[in-house]
């Protein structure tokens, strides 16, 4: 202990100088691995310490830090032995129980927020697990992540261009035709049934469509002028929905046009009857397509074909 520091800024005149130096050494090694020379230089230039330490003193400090639970290694380097702290007892740690809670929250967030917010939470957990060097948290996040096998840079660009409605030329690995170029005016990126889709208007087919993001290889071109104005052939479809349970989700273009005692009549406009057909089939017996006639007949035909698959039952 020695009398120390009398300045305008620091009013304390008594402190543990050795304790202070060990704190400085500890935080110095936390920043990055250091040689004995690096440490001496830092101590020499420090505004309060202003003196080097001997190699013997450094060893004493290192031994002391090890005693308090630090794992310190010394590795060879061209500049001499490099001291580094591998772990220490003051690290931010996340317990197994806390990981469970964070995963529970992941599930809540993934079901309640848009993809951008989920991406922020996902990235936050990944950064945290990297920073605190937690393999358990890292593994848990990898397992639960909605963005497994997704190029995050590409995804972020797709989200950005969807907001700006920029016409994109994409390299797309089509399940049917393999890799091909597609032109699309993106509308939104969403998670549907655990998969991430880009929704938008296909300029190759002039209709609304969706692309699995995992199949998008890269963005080839972005039309910054955004000149594309597309004339879409929209079909108006009416359907009756028997009940509006909380888990029934209407489409973005759907409008309730009539409310009956135990059902509602919904009208929607679509450029992609295939996608709409799938959605309406998903409502099961709760849904009856009312018009147009040819779409209604198509649904009936499909249902009859489906029944054929179970003719033995």
């Amino acid at each position: 202990m020695k009398e120390f520091l009398k300045s305008n800024t620091i009013t304390y005149n008594l402190m543990s100088f050795t304790g202070f130096k060990s704190l400085i050494l500890f935080s110095l090694l936390l920043e990055s691995p250091k040689t004995y020379e690096d440490i001496c230089e830092y101590f020499r230039n420090h505004e309060y310490i202003k003196e080097e330490i001997s190699m013997d003193t450094l060893r004493v400090y290192i031994t002391s830090l090890k005693r308090i639970g630090c794992e310190i290694t010394r590795t060879k380097s061209p500049r001499g032995g490099l001291y580094s702290i591998v772990s220490h007892p003051f690290e931010f740690r996340v317990s197994e129980e806390q990981i469970k809670a964070l995963l529970k929250i992941y599930r809540i967030i993934s079901a309640n927020v848009n993809i951008e917010d989920l991406l922020k939470y996902d990235k936050f957990l990944k950064k945290l697990s990297d920073n605190i060097n937690s393999a358990n948290l890292s593994d848990a996040v990898k397992n639960i992540s909605a963005f497994k096998n997704i190029d995050l840079y590409l995804l972020e660009n797709l989200i950005k261009y969807s907001k700006e409605k920029r016409t994109l030329t994409l390299s797309y690995n089509s399940p049917k035709n393999g890799i091909k170029e597609i032109k699309v005016i993106p509308d939104k990126v969403e998670i549907t049934q655990s998969k991430i889709y880009l929704y938008g208007i296909s300029l190759d087919y002039n209709q609304e469509t969706s692309y699995l993001v995992q199949r998008i290889e890269k963005i080839i071109d972005v039309d910054l002028e955004n000149k594309n104005e597309v004339e879409l052939n929209k079909t108006t479809v009416g359907y009756e929905l028997m009940s509006l349970n909380p888990d029934v989700k209407l489409g973005n273009n759907d409008k309730i046009v009539e409310i009956k005692d135990d059902s509602v009549i919904v009208e929607t406009q679509t450029t992609n009857l295939f996608m709409l057909k799938r959605r309406l089939l998903g409502y099961g017996p709760m849904c009856t397509v009312l018009y147009p006639e040819d779409f209604r007949n198509d649904i009936i035909k499909t249902l009859k074909n489906m029944r054929e698959g179970y003719k033995d039952e």
Binding site: M1, I10, L14, M15, S16, T18, G19, F20, S22, L23, I24, Y48, R59, V60, S64, L65, K66, R67, I68, P89, F90, F92, Q98, A101, K104, I105, R107, I108, A111, N112, V113, D117, K120, Y121, K123, N131, P175, Q193, K195, L212, N245, P246, D247, K249, R278, L281, G282, G284, P285, I299, I300, T302, L303, K304, N305, R307, E308, G309, Y310, E313
Partner: protein
Amino acid sequence: MSNRKISEKYNDSCIKIFALISLFSKGTADFSEVIKLFADDDGTISQKSNVILNKYMNTLEIFGIKIRKTKNKYYLLSMPFTISLNEEELYAVSLIKSAISILPDGKNKTNAIKFLAELEKKYDNDTKNLSKVVNSTRNFDLSFYFQKFKSQIKDCESLCEAGKKIELCYNDTECGIQNIICIPQEVKYRENLVSFCVYNTLSRQVIDIPVDSIRYIHQLNIDAGKSKICTTVIFKLKGDLIKRYNLRDWERSEGIDENGWMTIVNSGEDLNTLTTRLFKYDENCVVVSPKYLKVRLQKMIDKTLKNYE
């Protein structure tokens, strides 16, 4: 630690300053606990102990560790080994806070709050300042459920933690009142629905039951056990769907047969969700087994067809 290392020379001041930090790193520390570190060799607390403690407190303060003392208790205000978060990351923290606000009391809520408290203590100054301006209001629209079913949700969460089997009675939209013996899995919070996910031990199905359809739950004095073998659902796909189909994590493909059908083996998906999904695949999908699911699909088709008569 090896004997050789223990026998090496160390510095007592160094050990003491870190022992002090270790005490404070828990967030709060009693004076009686702290002063013991500076007791005389015989263990007595003397005036000298107080003087030494003051010196060490000064050292910590000069180093940048802020501690407040109120009524014989020390409170750690900031740690030197900090975490720096940017605006996006702080927004993620605000999402955690929002999720906590809808979690019922229980282990998850307690642990999430503890995590946040410990994390916030590690913020560096920039992060602290930024956290004051980042929008932290984010409400998940579950108010309907929480007004009406708050205690039910809390009960379900507790049952998930209890590790016991339960008898559950609920109203199924298709099959009416159901009474099952099952193992609680988790409470799922979706955009506009809270459901209780359970594993039916008899049918070996995972079922998501909306909390508002639960009539009663009785906890049984039978351990839930760890093994969970779910019913395997086998279905076939054909046509373009084969190329377009993306296998879920809980599925595997058994290849394509001579008639062009691809067989998929699915295990552990909630059957209601799966049924709705398979129904969307129209005639390009046929369930092979189990039989009750085939019958269910067939009934669904018949019922839907009736809408058009």
